[in-house]
C-alpha cells in the first residue's frame, strides 16, 4: 500500500465503457417519453413580427417564452441569454421555441411548417466592426508599476498583433438532456460538467423551491468546457416541456445542431506594445486583448479575466498596462473551452517574444529565459509567485530530450523546431474558490467509504483520481471506496468540474477529510466527516482593482515541436512533440498522460486544421465533414514526462493539469513553423493557404 501515489492503476470506469455498457443519456429509457426539437432563428439580428403555427395534432406541443414559469434568462455569470427568444433574435441558431411529442418524424414535420416573420436589423459580425461601433460587454483594466514612464525611457518600441479563430469542442457525445417530474419533484438528467450550475438555472427559470429540483449527471462523453454552461439552457428547455406536458421529455442534439448553436472558443485579437531597454530587456508591455463573445455575454467575463491574467505568461515584466474587452457580435455565443482565454494570450506572448528575439538577433529561448519568473517575484497582478519555479530544470530536460539546439542549427528550410514555455493558474480565478467554498462529505459505513462530491467524471479520470486519493490516505483498497451518484439531492456542492480544480481543490479537501477520518477510524462503525474549502491565508485578492494573487499556485511546462512543411502543397506535418511538466505530483501517471496527450492533440487541432469561420453571421462549417479535427493520422509521437514540485495544499502535492497541455502545444507548433519559414506566425489556425501566402510575401 505504501506505493507512490503516482504509480498508475487501472481506471475504475474503463471496463464498462469498453464493453459498451455505460449508459449515456441517449441510452436511457423512460416510459411515455416525448422528444423535443428546437426551432431556431435563421436571422442574425431581427425583430420577430409573428409566429404562425400549423395545426398541432393531439399529443404534440409547441413550447415558447410564454410557458416559462420563472425568469426567461439562463442563470450564469451574466444572465442575459433568453431561454426562449422574446421579441427579437440576436444570432443565427438562437432558440425560439421547441416542438415536443412522441414521434420524431411528426415533430420535424411540425417544426418545418412553422412560419416566422422577421424584420431584419443592422447586423454586426466581426471583431473589427465591433470595435469600431464599440459594442463592448466588458471592459477590464489593470496596471503594474509605472508603464508610462517605462515607455518614455525605452530604447526601442516594438508593436505586434496576434489573432486566433473559433474552436468547436467536438466532445464525441453531442449535447443531451432529459427531464421528468416524479411526485412533484423535477428530475433533470444529462451530459454535463456542473450539476449545480444546472440546478441554479432551473431554480430561476422553473420557479420551484430548492428541494423540488434534482439534477443527475449521466455518463458524459467528453466536455472540455462545452458542457460547462450550455446544458443549463437545454435543461431549462426540457424542464419547461416536462412541466407543461406532464411527460418525461428528452432532447438529444445531432452533430449539426450541436455545431450550429453550442458555445465555442472565443476568437481573439491580442495587441502588444513592448518597451525594450538598452540591455535588450522587455521592461514594459501595453497589452490589449479583445474577444468575440458573440450575441450574449454569459460566461465571457471570466474567460476574459483568465485571458488577461495569463497575458504575461511565465515572464516577469516590471511595468504593465493591460486592457481586456469582450465584444458583442451577432454570432453564436462563445463560452468555456479548455484553457479559458489563456491559450489565446499565451500563444500571443510566446510569438511576441520569439519575434522580438529574432528582430534583435538573439536566440529565442535564451531571450525568453532572461525574463523568467522566479520564486517571490511579483505576478502580473502584483501578487506573488509563492512556489519554486522549476522552469530552468524543465527547459534543460526538454531541450535534452528533443536535441533542440542541434536541430535548430542543422534544420533546412521547410523543417522547423520551436519551443514554448507556459503556465496555468490552478483553480478558479481571484476570489472564485472562496465564493464557492466547495463542500465535500466522506461517509464510512463499516469498511466501505463513500465520497460525496459534485465533481463529475467526464472522461478526464476524476473518479479514479479522487477515489485513489481517499483510498491511499485511508490505506484501504480502492474497491472499498465508492462515489455517490452525482445527484444534487444526494451530494453537497463541491463546485463545478472546471478550471483544472478537481484534483487540486476537491482532491485536496478529500485528502484532509480522509486524514481526519483515519484518526477516528476505529471509534465508529458509521461516520460522516465533511469539510468546506478555505482559501489559504497567504493569498490576497482585490476583485475591484484586480490586484493580488489571481491564483493560489501555478503549474508549468515546456513543449518542443518539430514540423515539416511540404514546399509545394504547404501541407504541415507535426513530427514530434516533447513535453515536460511540473504539475506538483502526478496522482496517477497514466491518467495524467491521457490528459496530456489529449490536450496536446486538441491544441494542435486548434493551431492547424480546425477552421471555423462566419459568413454573414452563419458558420461556414456545419458538420464533421467541413470541420476537421485530428485523426489518428494527424497526431504525432508525443513524449512527456514530469518533474516533481509538491504543492503544500494539494493532495499528495498535486497541482492542476487538465488545461495546461492544451495551452502549451499551439505556441510550440507556431514557433516551429515560424522557424521553418523564417517568417513570423501571428495567426492561428495555420492553414496551408496561409503558409503559402506567408512564404511568398516579402
Amino acid at each position: 500500500m505504501k506505493e507512490s501515489i503516482s504509480k498508475s492503476i487501472l481506471r475504475v470506469d474503463s471496463r464498462k465503457k469498453i464493453k459498451g455498457e455505460a449508459k449515456y443519456i441517449s441510452d436511457w429509457k423512460f416510459k411515455n417519453l416525448l422528444f423535443a426539437k428546437t426551432v431556431r432563428s435563421i436571422k442574425a439580428k431581427a425583430k420577430i413580427l409573428s409566429i404562425e403555427l400549423p395545426k398541432i395534432p393531439a399529443g404534440f406541443y409547441v413550447i415558447d417564452k410564454n410557458d416559462v414559469p420563472g425568469v426567461n434568462r439562463m442563470h450564469t455569470v451574466v444572465s442575459d441569454h433568453p431561454i426562449f427568444a422574446e421579441d427579437d433574435v440576436q444570432y443565427i441558431g438562437q432558440p425560439i421555441l421547441i416542438v415536443v411529442g412522441p414521434d420524431r418524424e411528426i415533430i420535424y414535420s411540425i417544426a418545418s411548417q412553422i412560419k416566422i416573420q422577421y424584420q431584419e436589423e443592422r447586423t454586426l459580425f466581426s471583431l473589427e466592426e465591433a470595435e469600431e461601433r464599440s459594442t463592448v460587454f466588458t471592459d477590464y483594466h489593470y496596471k503594474k508599476g509605472k508603464p508610462e514612464k517605462a515607455f518614455q525611457h525605452a530604447k526601442l518600441l516594438i508593436e505586434d498583433e496576434f489573432s486566433t479563430g473559433y474552436q468547436e469542442h467536438v466532445y464525441l457525445e453531442p449535447q443531451g438532456i432529459a427531464a421528468e417530474f416524479k411526485k412533484g419533484t423535477l428530475f433533470v438528467y444529462g451530459s454535463m460538467q456542473c450539476p449545480f450550475y444546472v440546478k441554479n438555472a432551473l431554480l430561476d427559470t422553473m420557479n420551484l423551491p430548492d428541494n423540488k429540483i434534482r439534477v443527475v449527471q449521466t455518463v458524459t462523453g467528453g466536455a472540455f468546457g462545452g458542457k460547462e454552461e450550455f446544458p443549463s439552457l437545454t435543461a431549462c428547455h426540457v424542464a419547461i416541456a416536462a412541466h407543461k406536458t406532464h411527460h418525461p421529455v428528452m432532447m438529444i442534439y445531432d452533430r449539426s445542431e450541436d455545431i450550429l448553436c453550442s458555445t465555442k472558443r472565443h476568437p481573439s485579437k491580442v495587441r502588444y506594445k513592448a518597451a525594450i531597454d538598452e540591455n535588450d530587456q522587455v521592461i514594459a508591455l501595453d497589452i490589449d486583448v479583445i474577444l468575440n463573445a458573440g450575441a450574449y455575454n454569459g460566461l465571457s467575463p471570466v474567460v476574459l479575466q483568465r485571458g488577461i491574467f495569463s497575458a504575461t505568461n511565465v515572464y516577469n515584466i516590471p511595468h504593465l498596462n493591460v486592457r481586456g474587452r469582450n465584444f458583442m457580435t451577432n454570432s453564436v455565443p462563445s463560452g468555456a473551452y479548455r484553457g479559458f482565454g489563456a491559450p489565446q494570450t499565451i500563444f500571443s506572448i510566446e510569438m511576441l517574444f520569439y519575434n522580438i528575439a529574432v528582430k534583435l538577433g538573439i536566440d529565442p529561448l535564451e531571450y525568453k529565459m532572461r525574463h523568467l519568473l522566479k520564486k517571490n517575484d511579483p505576478t502580473c497582478t502584483g501578487g506573488q509567485i509563492h512556489e519554486e519555479v522549476k522552469l530552468p530544470e524543465i527547459i534543460k530536460k526538454v531541450i535534452g530530450k528533443s536535441d533542440y539546439y542541434n536541430k535548430l542549427k542543422t534544420n533546412k528550410k521547410y523543417h522547423g523546431i520551436g519551443i514554448s514555455l507556459f503556465l496555468h493558474g490552478c483553480g478558479f480565478t481571484g476570489k472564485g474558490e472562496s465564493v464557492i467554498s466547495g463542500k465535500i462529505i466522506l461517509n464510512k459505513n463499516k469498511d466501505i467509504v463513500t465520497l460525496k462530491v459534485s465533481s463529475v467524471e467526464m472522461g478526464q479520470g476524476a473518479e479514479t483520481s479522487l477515489r485513489k486519493i481517499v483510498a491511499y490516505t485511508l490505506e484501504i483498497p480502492i474497491e472499498n471506496v465508492v462515489c455517490e451518484k452525482v445527484d444534487t439531492g444526494l451530494i453537497p456542492d463541491s463546485g463545478p468540474t472546471v478550471a483544472s480544480r478537481t484534483t487540486m481543490i476537491v482532491g485536496g479537501l478529500l485528502r484532509q477529510t480522509a486524514l481526519e477520518m483515519k484518526e477516528r477510524w476505529n471509534k465508529a462503525e458509521i461516520l460522516d466527516v465533511s469539510k468546506s474549502y478555505k482559501h489559504p491565508d497567504y493569498l490576497h485578492w482585490d476583485d475591484n482593482k484586480f490586484h493580488g494573487d489571481a491564483y493560489p499556485v501555478y503549474s508549468w511546462g515546456a513543449n518542443v515541436a518539430e514540423v515539416e512543411i511540404d514546399p509545394i502543397t504547404y501541407e504541415l506535418t507535426i513530427k514530434k512533440i516533447d513535453a515536460v511538466y511540473d504539475v506538483g505530483v502526478p496522482i496517477d501517471e497514466r491518467t495524467l498522460k491521457g490528459q496530456i496527450e489529449g490536450g496536446i492533440a486538441q491544441g494542435i487541432g486548434w493551431a492547424t486544421i480546425e477552421v471555423m469561420e462566419l459568413e454573414n453571421g452563419k458558420l461556414k462549417q456545419s458538420n464533421l465533414t467541413d470541420y476537421k479535427v485530428p485523426t489518428s493520422m494527424d497526431v504525432p509521437e508525443i513524449n512527456c514526462c514530469f518533474i516533481s514540485n509538491p504543492y503544500e495544499f494539494g493532495p499528495f502535492g498535486a497541482k492542476c493539469a487538465g488545461e495546461l497541455p492544451f495551452v502549451g502545444a499551439p505556441p510550440a507548433v507556431a514557433e516551429a513553423v515560424a522557424n521553418a519559414l523564417k517568417k513570423p506566425i501571428n495567426h492561428l489556425p495555420i492553414t496551408p493557404e496561409r503558409l503559402m501566402e506567408i512564404d511568398n510575401e516579402n
Partner: protein, 156 residues
Amino acid sequence: MKIEFYLNNEKKKIDIEASIRLLDVLREDFGLTSVKEGCGEGECGACVVLVNGKAMNSCMIPAGSIIGKSIVTLEGYKNTDRYKAIETGFMEAGSVQCGFCTPGFVMATESLLNQNPNPTDEEIKEGLSGNLCRCTGYNMIIQGVRLAIRKGAGLW
C-alpha cells in the same frame, strides 16, 4: 419492407422501412446501445458495427441493404476471446477516457486485426483513421491495440 438478417449470430426478421438507418434499427428496435451516434454522417466511427466481418458505419447503411447479411455489434462480440484481449489491452494502455468512441474503436480493431493480424504502427493508425476520439489523442489507443495483439497472440 420485410428484412431478414443475422444479428449477433441469430436470425432476425423485421418489418421496417428500407431507408431507415441501420444505426436506428439496432438502437431502437433491438436496444443495442453500444452502437453510438457521434455525427450521423459517416465521419466519426462511433456507430461502427461489423457487416460480414468488416467495420462499417451503421449510420450510413440503409436497413434495406442488410438483407441476408451478418451484423455483429459489441453486445455479441464481447463474449469472445478476441474481445477479452482487446479489453485487457485497452484497459492497461489507458485507451479509454470518456468512452463514447470506445465501442467503435473496439469493433474497428477487430476488423483491422481480422484482416491484418500483425499490423505496423502506421497500419494501425490507418486502420483506425475512420474513428474519431477527442479525448486521448490516439497514441494510447494505438498502444492498446498493440497490447491486445500481444495478449491475443494466435487469436487472429
